[in-house]
Amino acid sequence: MSASPTLLSCRDLSRRFGGLLAIDRLSFDVAEGEILGLIGPNGSGKTTFFNVLTGIYPASGGSVEFAGARVTGLRPQQIYRVGISRTFQRSRLCLPLSVFDNIMVGNHSRLDHGPWLNLFHRAGLRRQVSENFAEARELIQVFNRSLADRMLEAVGGISLIDRRRIEICRAMISRPRLLLLDEPSAGMTREETSRLMDDILEVKRRFGRLTIVLIEHEMSVIERCTDRCVVLDYGKKLCEGTYAQVAQNPLVRQAYLGIS
């Protein structure tokens, strides 16, 4: 285990939908600065875990501590403000808005929404827009240079792969402490996925102490990028450890391949 302090810690976290326990007494820790892979078959509760963690669904039981403070029971808005940001499994960008606008939605907490600045002090607003524009451009350049020249185009006209990059930029622009990536490579080829992960690692290197929880089905990505993995099956934690340890675990092989 790394010596870094624990950033996120789940204890007996559960979420029930009627008769189904989508997450069943889940307990694990995420250390500050690490990349944790969250893997498991379809329907094992990975995305539900993100939704409970970010307050979209209230937890049915258990607790989550983030940086020492309890965040279970907080609303999504409050959880975003403590520094947890996410992408969605199915893209949730605003297609009619420009690339820049979409990234700025993710920057909500750092923008000044006062009526004075926005309605009457156009020069001040102009400065703030320009600063944010430069920052967003710099961030998106890490992912795709040509995208940086399309900042004022509508997202609806941009390729699906670039939309994923924009979504990741939207989650990162506010400098979160914890980034939740829900299958960033869905629908991408192996090469594109590999490039995307390189880009994410590059951003992490520049940002310093960013912690990432990554849901991913592409095992090569998990193997290359993550420090540790947590394997879920039917909402329960099957095991955790480095990819090499997890891949050797007979329970995991059984869950994934159905070999008894």
Binding site: Y80, S85, F88, L95, L97, S98, D101, V105, H113, L152
Partner: protein, 383 residues
């Protein structure tokens, strides 16, 4: 780049001039044949503009100089008043177009920006009107303050609807506003202090001794007293327009867009959904109420029958026709929706049918409206 800037300004003024000329023709033509010919010509012009690619850079330059276009718009509106100075009815129509635009800017904030349905536009318009009528009849409050209070009371009564509105979505929220609209009309009809079905009369608007109901006379120039109201409406509309366009092109407009397009994603990035809906709904109702108050003074009379559900639908259709989310489109559509039925007397009772058909055609073939929602440009030259 002074050359490029002046080109943009010229383009914007030229676009305003074309619209003003069109408006003048529509207002001037009396014969039904002339009207039909004009409609065909307008249709042909729209097609031509879409086909002519050479116009694109010109229109682009114009769109980047909205302020110039708006100033030209004000100038041309006043010019129209000079042109039709003796014609009460035409000047009155111009005033109605301006006030419908003002009210629909309120709907633009609610419906176009934040996605909050409001099918009770006429009711909030009426709240503003009744407030102005009662305040001007029973209190010494200056009329201009009564107009502002009309907006404020409209916002206040709108806030009664907030609780159910924030707990419902989509069709259900729309139904709540419809119910409120019907309630308001019935209330006005049975309430004697509001004049019952006969309604209330208003005295003429006064501003620092300027009597709006007296014929306008500036030196040798004489004109219809309605020109006074048009001037006041232009002033209010200019303020509202600057406010709405400034809001559209700021972080506030972005927050409203995010709330409208995806509440879940917006909440995940810290946007307080309820707060933004309240801002849009309250501000929108203020504009609608203000328009209603000035309109009551201009018409000189208000009655429950002016604030029916059909009137609310007319406001909504102006926003739909103009292009949901485009303030300029709202102004264009307000002109079409207010003026066309008055001018197409040949169709008599059926003219509203034609108008309903027009809305259906727009929804089917051009759902984004006549002037689609533009991408947000915070400032000229941001790149």
């Amino acid at each position: 780049m002074p050359a490029a800037i002046s080109r943009g300004r010229v383009s914007a003024s030229a676009v305003a001039a074309v619209f003003a000329a069109g408006a003048a023709l529509f207002l001037a033509v009396e014969s039904q044949r002339g009207m039909l010919a004009l409609l065909l010509a307008a249709g042909a012009l729209v097609v031509a503009i879409r086909r002519l690619k050479g116009l694109r850079p010109f229109l682009q330059a114009a769109s980047e100089h909205e302020e110039t276009g708006a100033l030209a718009g004000v100038a041309f509106t006043l010019l129209l008043c000079v042109l039709f100075r003796d014609d009460h009815f035409t000047v009155f129509l111009i005033g109605r177009v301006l006030l419908a635009t003002l009210a629909c800017l309120g709907l633009h904030l609610q419906f176009g920006s934040a996605g909050v349905a409001n099918f009770a536009g006429a009711a909030f318009f009426g709240v503003g009107g009744y407030t102005a009528a009662i305040l001007s009849a029973h209190s010494p409050i200056p009329h201009i303050v009564a107009v502002a209070l009309g907006g404020a009371v409209s916002s206040l009564i709108g806030s009664l609807l907030l609780l159910p509105l924030l707990r419902t979505r989509g069709h259900y929220a729309a139904l709540i506003t419809i119910a409120f609209g019907l309630l308001f009309r019935t209330f006005a009809e049975v309430n004697d202090s509001l004049g019952g079905p006969q309604g209330l009369k208003l005295q003429g608007f006064q501003l620092f001794g300027w009597q709006f109901n007296e014929e306008l006379a500036i030196g040798p120039f004489h004109g219809s007293f309605y020109i006074n109201y048009v001037i006041a409406a232009v002033a209010l509309l200019a303020i509202a327009f600057a406010l709405v366009r400034g809001l559209d092109r700021s972080w506030l407009g972005l927050a409203l867009d995010a709330v409208r397009l995806d509440e879940t994603a917006a909440a995940a990035f810290g946007l307080e959904i309820a707060r933004w809906k309240i801002v849009a709904f309250t501000l929108g109702n203020f504009l609608i109420g203000t328009a209603g108050a000035l309109s009551a003074f201009m018409v000189g009379f208000i009655a429950p029958n002016n604030f029916t559900f059909a009137e609310s639908l007319t406001f909504v259709s102006i926003v739909l026709l103009g292009g949901i989310g485009n303030a300029w489109g709202v102004a264009l559509a307000a002109f079409i929706v207010v003026v066309l039925p008055e001018k197409l007397q040949i169709l008599q009772e059926y003219r509203f049918l034609l108008f309903a058909a027009l809305v259906i055609v727009v929804l089917r073939y051009r759902p984004q409206g006549l002037v689609p929602r533009p991408l947000r440009r915070y400032f000229r030259g941001l790149a």
